[in-house]
């Protein structure tokens, strides 16, 4: 089965990756947000650096907060961003 997911980036994650979104294909072996992070980090230095410390990142699956251990399931959008600073 071929799945794809839309990745969206915000704030310094967006700036340092040099893009605000992209779509990637996910193989069968991809189960969690952590698995997606591993795929991205394998792509090269920028990804590896920006995504290295998942403690400094927050994630949302289809606009609901998740963690590196959260299951992707049938989610269509994964957002990766720094801790929020609104208000």
């Amino acid at each position: 089965m071929n799945r794809s997911i839309n990745l969206v980036y915000f704030a310094w994650v967006r700036e340092r990756l040099g893009r605000d979104e992209e779509t990637i294909r996910l193989g069968e072996e991809v189960g969690t947000i952590g698995d997606v992070l591993d795929i991205l980090k394998a792509r090269g230095t920028a990804y590896a650096e920006v995504l290295s410390d998942s403690e400094k990142l927050r994630f949302a699956l289809d606009q609901d907060y998740g963690t590196a251990a959260s299951t992707i399931g049938s989610a269509r959008e994964l957002a990766i961003f720094p801790p929020v600073t609104g208000g």
């Binding site: 969206v8 915000f10 704030a11 310094w12 949302a60 606009q63 907060y65 959008e77 957002a79 961003f81 720094p82 801790p83 929020v84 600073t85 609104g86 208000g87």
Partner: protein, 147 residues
Amino acid sequence: MIKVEVGPADFDIGSETLDVSRQGGGAIASFVGQVRDDGNLKTLELEHYPAMTQKALQEIAETARSGWPLHAVTIIHRVGKLSVGENIVLVVTGSDHREAAIESCSFIMDRLKTVAPFWKKETRADGATKWIEARDSDRAAAEKWKK
């Protein structure tokens, strides 16, 4: 009544407070956050996650309404480039009781700081830019409501 707005437009505190008070109660609390002049700040840029923001604010308002007896909740959060002294955020709550109005207003602000998908980037007078980092004190403030 819950009203949630996200966008670049400024808000009018008087008319928003009036709208909340018309829902009854007699106790109206409000909070306004503005771009604070700390000496050499020039502008603040507010980025957000449009697909998530409205939903997050709606959830925060509904959590407040389930925790306190409220007649109305209004949350308005601006995005885009803002100058020193400009309004960023407005929260207004209306209740029969002042404690409920004030506490829920405080709760909503704490949640906005820690849950709503906004990010602030500051530009200094010398042109230097920096993403504002989340503060431990904001996380601690949000935690205290979970008791």
